[in-house]
Amino acid sequence: MIFELQDLVVNYGVIRALKGISLQIDEGEIVTLIGANGAGKSTTLRTISGLIKPKSGKIVFDGADITHQNAAKRVAAGISQAPEGRRVFAELTVTENLEMGAFLRKNKAEVRADMEEVFGRFPILAERRKQPAGTLSGGEQQMLAIGRALMAKPRMMLLDEPSLGLAPIVVKEIFAIIREINAAGTTIFLVEQNARMALKIANRGYVLETGTITLTGTGDELAAADEVQRSYLGH
């Protein structure tokens, strides 16, 4: 097991956004967290990245309790995130965005090599490397957000709604890339509203409903489960 949430409670102002959730992720897995809008999916990822402090509970990564570490320490430890809505630095060029992804890394030669790898994975980004990120299309920005998260050389990558607002064909492409990244050894924790796609590539999944995990199982089990079919797959 590389990562674990233990009874995590998070308040958002006066609202209890997460009411004590627990989950485990093994090294090399793709685990997805599905749920409706407002269920607390993004809150979960933001808490894991250290942007929100939990009220109680524990976050364990690689055997160490990281609940009280700041965001930078978690990136250094090997958790990076491609956030919801991509959040690329629109005024920075594609290259500069990738450099920011590697902000904490000291070995310049390695960073440069990894950047070439990202450009190899996303040839369209290589073409646009000098362009401000704000001029990219939605799909390209998502690729950049993923590439930027890769630049931190993560052991576990958090992906928040990578399919949001993208054309189906682009979504397919993005999910193929997620699979590739996973195959290359990075553990993936994927938050999605597009349950169909997410369950297709995930080893395991959790269903989150208004701050509580209501169901868990392998990707296929969840895809076959009645509640999931009714609520998230539209059967």
Binding site: L51, A71, A76, R87, V88, F89, F103, A152
Partner: protein
């Protein structure tokens, strides 16, 4: 024509001082959305430091300038840490009022120690030579002000565009949370921004002192306000905008003064502020949406 060129020369040298000050306003606004009203007073402290250095030691212009810049750097970082950082999650108006408080604190603390009278730099800090080029007079001081501002602005552009810290600054300005996800330390980046802005204010303070050859504890107010207008004119939060805005305001002010409306030079500058806020609140080079000042 000579008279016009003369005013342009005067305007460009005054305007480059405004540009240096405006850069501090605009960078700080870019990163924490604060109009740092104490910025003009950091400039004043810079002027007093260089005055003290040149008066009480035998050091010349360049060492005095460097000492002023370093002092202001420290002052700017301390002000941010002590006064603004505790208010990071407060309303913007709370921070704005604090900034005005810091401004008054600096002005009247210094006045308590040195009094309100004006002082002049000793003769010979800079040579008083004036060149006459085809009827247009330009002093060594003006040349130094223009060149020095140019060098400092180029240096700033280099830091902001090419260095890792500078890029982090732009990233934090654009999206603090996303920057945190990169592992960027937001607090340190904000300190760095104050450090850069205050160093430029320190340099500008020395120049204002030399340009008017008079310093006093309230001297930062007017240049501070005008540089603020320059920053808004150029598009607040926009670095090239601050440079263009500073030069424009300087030139406009000297043209108004040079063509017989000397009494209205300040009024003209603030009229521009009003016009900009009515016609294009985002400024010359600012992006749409309009900045709420």
């Amino acid at each position: 024509m000579e008279r016009f060129l003369q005013q342009i020369v005067n305007g460009v040298s005054l305007g480059s001082i405004y540009a240096l000050i405006a850069l501090g306003y605009t960078m700080v606004y870019g990163i924490i959305k604060l109009i740092n009203f104490a910025h003009g007073d950091v400039l004043m402290i810079g002027a007093f430091v260089s005055f003290a250095v040149t008066t009480f030691t035998r050091l010349g212009f360049i060492p005095a300038l460097l000492i002023s810049m370093v002092t202001c750097m420290c002052l700017g970082v301390i002000i941010e840490r002590v006064a603004y950082k505790p208010l990071r999650n407060s309303s913007r108006i709370a921070v704005l009022i604090t900034a005005i408080g810091v401004s008054l604190l600096l002005e009247y603390t210094l006045m308590y120690f040195v009094g309100a009278q004006t002082r002049s730099f000793r003769q010979g800090v800079l040579p008083a030579t004036i060149y006459n080029i085809g009827g247009v007079r330009i002093s060594v001081q003006q040349i130094i002000i223009i060149l020095l501002s140019l060098v400092l602005m180029m240096l700033l552009q280099f830091i902001v565009r090419k260095t890792k810290q500078g890029k982090a600054m732009r990233a934090v300005s654009f999206d603090k949370e996303a920057a945190q996800l990169m592992g960027i330390n937001v607090d340190r980046t904000i300190s760095f921004t104050f450090l850069l802005g205050s160093a430029l204010a320190g340099a500008a303070g020395v120049m204002v002192g030399i340009y008017y050859n008079s310093i006093d504890p309230l001297m930062g107010m007017m240049p501070g306000l005008k540089a603020f207008v320059a920053a808004v004119f150029g598009g607040i939060g926009n670095i090239p905008g601050a440079m263009v805005g500073g030069l424009s305001i300087g030139v406009i002010e000297t043209l108004v003064a040079g063509y017989g409306a000397s009494l209205y030079r300040d009024a003209a500058v603030f009229a521009i502020l009003i016009l900009v806020l009515i016609l294009k609140p985002s400024g010359l080079m600012g992006k749409g949406g309009g900045s709420k000042v």
